[in-house]
Structure formats: C-alpha cells, structure tokens
Amino acid sequence: MAKQKNIHRVPREADHIDRSLKHAFDELAAEPLPERFTDLLEQLRKAELHKKDIQ
C-alpha cells in the first residue's frame, strides 16, 4: 500500500529553520558523552544498593 502523503504548505524560511534546528539538536544529542554521567549513575546505583543492604 502506497504511503499516504502528508502535504502541508509551509513557508520556506520556517522549513529551513526547523530542519536546521532538528539537525543541530540531533547532532548534539549524538555527541560522545562525558564519562562523568555514566560514572555518576553507577555511583548512585551502588549507593542505592548499599542503602537497601543496611535497611
């Protein structure tokens, strides 16, 4: 079945702006993450386990 087209008429400037912004956001979100975040989550997880152990 052919995919139904979702056609909208939009201003060219808004199209450029939103495509560029989405592209930029996706690029930033895909950047390698600092290890501090995964290290932090690991520390929090260990602390949580320790807390459960002593309860």
Partner: protein, 182 residues
Amino acid sequence: MTADPRDELTEHLGALRAFALSLTRNSATADDLVQDTLIKAWSNIEKFNAGSNMRAWLFTILRNTFYSLRRKRKREVEDADGSLALALASKPDHDGRLNMRDFMQAFEKLPDTQREALILVGAGGFSYEEAAETCGVAVGTIKSRVGRARASLADLLSLQDDEALELTDSVTAGILSNGPVN
C-alpha cells in the same frame, strides 16, 4: 518484579545534554546542569509516573534547575561560550539546511524563553501541550514564543519568505504547520 524507571535514564543523556547546551550555551555549565538533573531525578524517582514521558519529566527538572541556578549565579550561567556553534562548526552542511555555524550563532542570540520553546517543539518533538507543561506556561504562550523565535531567526539570517514549499515529510510538516507529530 517491575522494572526500575531509573534504568531508562541513560537513554536520555544525549538529549538532556543537547537541551542543556541550548539553554546555557556553555558546555561546562551544561554538563553541570545534566549532572544536577540526574541526581535530582534519581532521588525523586518516586515522583515519576511510570509509563509517562520520561524525557519530558527530565527536561522539566533540567529547565527548573537551570532557572534556579541562574537566579543564584546570574553572571556565570549566562556566560555563553559559543559551545553550540563550536560543537557544530566542523559538521558538513546538507541540502536544504542553513550553514550550521551561522544558524547556531543566530539561535544563541534568541531570548531564553524563545530558545527553549523552539528547541522543545521544533527539535525535541514535544507537543505544544508538553512544552507548555515543561515550561510552566499556557499553550498559547508556547505557540507565541515558537512563532516569535522563528521570525527572529529568519530576520537574523535574512531569510526571505517569498514562497512556500510542499513537504511530504510528516515530521517536518507537522512541526511547522500544526505542531509536532506525536
């Protein structure tokens, strides 16, 4: 045994960092903001409604933390270092997209409220309702901010709105005409 929603946090790190960068425009401050957000989310996980939108919940925490921090340390948090433009400076441009460095430099000049509204709705895929809840304002306010942000960017980039495009891309079309596609 139910899954711990905290296991999902890792999936949102990249988007959280991108949102933090868009707010702070400073990579060091953005990373501190993400770290604070993770700690708050972890210690308040019981306030998260399982099955609801975790990204929206995390973005709300990050945003509130940003404005709280900025009230306390106004100068430091507003010390934009061009991180957004720099992060994208080496990226190639693609057909139909603006020069990324020029674009991000213009984006960084927008007021905080317009920047966050356009990021949430235009890039983050949030509905106007979700963006309004995240920002703690009315839906109409978000729509107005998104409209003003687009107009300001078009002005800054000297774009001409002299013709219209017919788009078949449902995501982009939804973002531009009727709000986000869910």
